[in-house]
Symmetry: C2
Subunit: 185 residues, 2 copies
Amino acid sequence: MLKATWEELGSQEFASITIDRIAQRSGVHAATIRRRWRTVEGVITDMLSQHSEKIPIPDAGSLRADLHAVTQSIAEFYSLARNRRLVEAVVTSAAREPGAAEVLRAVFKNRIQRVSVLLERAVERGEIPADTDAEEVIAAIGAPFYYRLLITRRPIDAELARISAESAYLGAVEGIFRTKGSRPD
Amino acid sequence: MLKATWEELGSQEFASITIDRIAQRSGVHAATIRRRWRTVEGVITDMLSQHSEKIPIPDAGSLRADLHAVTQSIAEFYSLARNRRLVEAVVTSAAREPGAAEVLRAVFKNRIQRVSVLLERAVERGEIPADTDAEEVIAAIGAPFYYRLLITRRPIDAELARISAESAYLGAVEGIFRTKGSRPD
């Protein structure tokens, strides 16, 4: 069923995908799909959650190298038009349905937990302050990609991955992501 | 007419705003609105363009202070739920309509031109490399806000403005936004 949706996304604009088309392609009854996922957006959000579980967590020995590896996999993922459409569909859905917004938050919370290990290792190696806010670092890694995807709507490339990794690395080393209470200002 | 739409955004969820409601509130015929803007999204995108023209361009004597001033005005703008809905509406629209995507690009291109002057001054003062890519710096300033708005969907606050300004400043000073051809890698 999710595979059928994936194929639909590969061949159609998001606006033209319907529960009936997914039902037709997958052989699952439309009523069954509606009962479980309610909307096309619901189906797509579920796909995103499943993808999120598969992101590899690098361990290259330095935070800088790890961050470059992470941003390169993000860039590869979004170099496919189908994956761009996937995230567009989820963000669009989240703006209209509280349920989809909730799933989006859950997906990214899970992603933060998975990537936090890179930062824990960097703290252990003494590369960054111990009170670095993992959530803010991960936001800094992802933000340039979503800006490019959703705002300027230009292609994702290796140059963007480099900027994203270097920017997050510099900020983390310089302590700009330290938790609020511990900064001297 | 745009004022009526603004009021609708202040009191309604985006999904419930229609051309007919805007017509009713503004006293402009629905047919006239449809002829000029085609959709609700079209009306809202036009509002965003008009807002963009009004962003103040600071001149505080240092790039760091200028960037903090810019991110503080962005944070103030998005602290209002109505303005969050405005940008959500535009991004959602851009994902579905090539026309809206085109306007979004035009709005941000204009914003880049306006903010570029801060970077030109910083280059003149010798704060950042002469070949700094203004577009990438401006993307770096905006990206954390749109990530917070559209992905994690949490409130915008002064802390985010601080992180955004410091991150863009550090990156610019360290040369990570230099145009590709001129970096030694």
